[in-house]
Amino acid sequence: MMAAAPAVATRPAQRLSRVLQPTVVVYLALVLLLIAGSILVGVRGGVLLDQGGILNILTRSTALGLVAIGQTMVILTGKLDLSVAYLIGLCSLIGAETMAGDPGMIVPAVLLTLACAAGVGLVNGLVITKLKVNAFIATLGTALVIRGYLESAYSGPAGEVPRAFQHLGYARIGPIPVSALLMVALAALAWWYLMRTKGGYHVYAVGGDEEVARFSGIRTDRTIIKVHVLCAVAAGLAGLFLASRLGSGAPWVGVDAGYDLESIAAVVLGGTLLAGGRGGVAGTIGGVLILATLDTIFDDLGVTPFFKDVVRGAVLIIAVALYARRRGVLR
């Protein structure tokens, strides 16, 4: 019955656009970068993709990847979350302090951390939907509040993570860290949620046009709250991962790494539209890998951090300009 032959005319165009999906472009760019990087590093007598290099790229991608998965969902609804950086620090502390070195407390600590993170996400979502505060301001406000708490309650790393939990951060299979696998698994889950479930459809709908979504009977507020909670939980996971790497909680671990803006950059680099409604997790992971690969290449080349910043900024702008070009052409 699904007959409807008329689709024929549009098929080639669809196929073309599927081939040129930003996701595909991102991974193509990643491959090119790896090749170019290997050559550059090779010229200087190193090897980019040896065991250590792969390990490096993947380890570096993990924390940012976790946050960026959450950020993707938020951005898909046309919002953004600037509170993740402070939240990561907060969550690493909650986790590490609850565990306090006791392996028996791992599960309660993880649950508690994620619950707290979800709470923060809930506040973000409620402020945005019920108080009608622009997401930029709402999450910036939350970030300031968390920062205030961290500043007054902590003056350095605190808590202690038991060894058993540290395996999360260090265990690996060959050159592949287990945590990176977990991150990819989470990305897959997020991908399934966004592409296959009703909730995911509504995320795209809200991002496409909130008004239209509401008129169509979607509970837009709920969707927005949900993505903020999911994003905060993803940040919570990143916090826990970092705690397992660091052995304790660290208040500024998220801020120092600039995970707020960097996660947004990764998402956009991955081809997700900042305005929402288009894009996805697969691209984001590509974006994260590109950033991590760039870092690794620069480290191998011994480039100064200032130069890295310049390149990162340029890559971000150029990539997004290319997407915009492509979109213009296809239209």
């Binding site: 007959a3 549009t10 009703k198 509504h202 169509s216 009977g217 979607i218």
Partner: protein, 504 residues
């Protein structure tokens, strides 16, 4: 969910004493309305009369400040469109409510995606959409196409399919034909009849009186938010209806044509114009005449307008203004050459909705001419009066105006630059008879003052009534030219490509 047995005595929807205020202004006062199963109930009135508002109250978008809504005998109070939908009330909004980046099927089932084993059942969704589209006779739309790629008319079809897909008992349509060409309107007629036979109650808002008489069994007239009358269609004549709506009898709808249009100097001439959407466009517009541009939806009428006005310029051929060849590569260039362009999508292209009437009316002047405006002083009040705008004042934000009044603001901003050539694309879309007449008079007045006008309209009677000549398009080319007052058949023959007549 069958209602065939119900008689006239049992309305499915009973709205009583509905009142609604926006920002302290009463837009509805004590309005009653009954909807019976299997009945098309037309709701008419001038722009801003409150039709859309009443419909939105029924559909749960707004809550009434006063009065009650009963559905099937029990009182309901919908807090959201979702609740209304669940109760079987579905709405086709006046403005589009589609997501450009999602497919047709995803749009149709938006918010109600069928789920199978925790996942959205995409296949079923697409199959059902295809079936619904088939039922409408729309074979040109694939359920998997992103809506962004559809033309306006196709989007309207998707809107209707979306409303139908809910198995609604009550269907409210707010100007569903505003963007449709006549042959598509025919399809819609058939569709509405079939829905009626299924026992669905239909509330139908339209400014096209012909449709109202063709389709409805009952007509309710609103004026300034109050109920004027509610009568069986059979008891009303078009003249009476217009009198109810406007409050006075309306004499001849279309103003007299120009006495001798051929005598005007050629203002604008296109020779061999073409671009991605068009080929071999040859046309001349003379000072003082109104040239109609007819064609089916998608024939390229808007494309011609956009090309002349520099939005999607011609890539081949020449364009002459007052006998001098010019290149027009941007809207700015067009405007500075005295060409004005009233676009068909007023919300998307025409208005800065959150700005005041004043800022919108002055927009083109400021945008195209800046400081060194080679224009005379402007009497804003007179300008707004000339388009018979109804607003609280020049500081009112345009988004709070009714659709028709918004259209008048669009006209006003173009008139403010005193154009020599005026291209109007669907200038009366969504505006009431009274306002339409005002627009007609306005256009004719401009023509008399020496402006050359190219008018596009999907309402054939209007196009025929207004034009001094009619050009007809078919698939991106001019299929022929007809003199003043052609028959609808003549136009349609050319438009459907059944004949080509050499241009005179």
């Amino acid at each position: 969910m069958v209602v065939t047995g119900l008689t006239d005595e049992a309305p499915l929807v009973r709205m009583r004493g509905i009142g609604k205020q926006f920002l302290g202004n009463a837009v509805l006062r004590d309005v009653d309305l009954d909807l019976r199963p299997g009945e098309v109930h037309a709701l008419v009135g001038e722009n801003g009369a409150g039709k859309s508002t009443l419909m939105k109250i029924l559909a749960g978008v707004h809550r009434p400040d006063a009065g009650s809504v009963e559905l099937g005998g029990s009182e309901v109070a919908f807090g959201s469109p979702r609740e209304a939908q669940a109760a079987g009330i579905s709405i086709v909004h006046q403005e589009f409510n589609l997501l450009g980046d999602r497919t047709v099927a995803e749009n149709v089932y938006l918010g109600r995606e069928p789920v199978r084993r925790g996942q959205v059942d995409r296949r079923r969704m697409e199959a059902d959409t295809a079936e619904l589209l088939d039922g409408l006779g729309e074979r040109g739309i694939s359920p998997r196409t992103p809506v962004r790629r559809l033309a306006v008319a196709q989007r309207q079809v998707v809107e209707i399919v979306k409303a139908l897909s809910t198995d609604a008992r009550v269907l409210a349509m707010d100007e569903p034909t505003a963007a449709l060409a006549d042959h598509e309107v025919e399809l819609l007629y058939g569709l509405v009849k079939r829905l009626r036979e299924r026992g669905i109650a239909i509330l139908y808002v339209s400014h096209r009186l012909r449709e109202v008489f063709d389709l409805s069994q009952r007509i309710t007239v609103l004026k300034d938010g109050e109920l004027v009358t509610s009568k069986a269609t059979a008891e009303l004549t078009p003249d009476q209806l217009v009198r109810h709506m406007v409050g006075r009898p309306l004499d001849a709808l279309f103003p007299d044509r120009a006495a001798e249009p051929e005598t005007g100097a050629v203002r604008l001439a296109v020779r061999g114009g073409g671009n991605a959407r068009l080929a071999g466009i040859d046309l001349e517009l003379r000072a003082g005449e109104i040239v109609g541009l007819a064609g089916l939806q998608g024939a390229g009428r808007s494309a011609v307008a956009r090309a002349i006005c520099g939005v999607d310029p011609f890539t081949t051929g020449t364009l002459e203004l007052d006998g001098r060849p010019v290149t027009i590569g941007s809207p700015r260039a067009a405007i500075r050459h005295g060409i004005a362009f009233v676009t068909e999508d007023r919300k998307g292209d025409g208005l800065a909705l959150r700005q005041s009437v004043r800022d919108n009316a002055l927009l083109v002047r400021r945008a195209a001419f800046g400081r060194a405006r080679g224009l005379g002083a402007l009497d804003l009040a007179a300008l707004l009066r000339s388009v018979t705008l109804v607003a609280r004042g020049p500081d009112q934000e345009v988004r709070y105006l009714s659709g028709g009044n918004q259209q008048k603001v669009v006209l006003a901003k173009w008139l403010a630059v005193e154009p020599h050539v005026l291209v109007v694309d669907e200038p009366t879309r969504g505006i009431d008879v009274g306002a339409k007449k005002a627009v007609y008079d306005l256009l004719r007045g401009l023509a008399r003052g020496g402006v050359a006008i190219l008018m596009i309209s999907s309402e054939l009677p209007e196009l025929i009534g207004m034009s001094d000549r009619v050009l007809v398009m078919h698939e991106g080319r001019l299929a022929g030219e007809l003199p003043a007052g052609p028959s609808e058949e003549a136009v349609m023959t050319l438009a459907t490509g059944h004949a080509t007549v050499e241009a005179a």
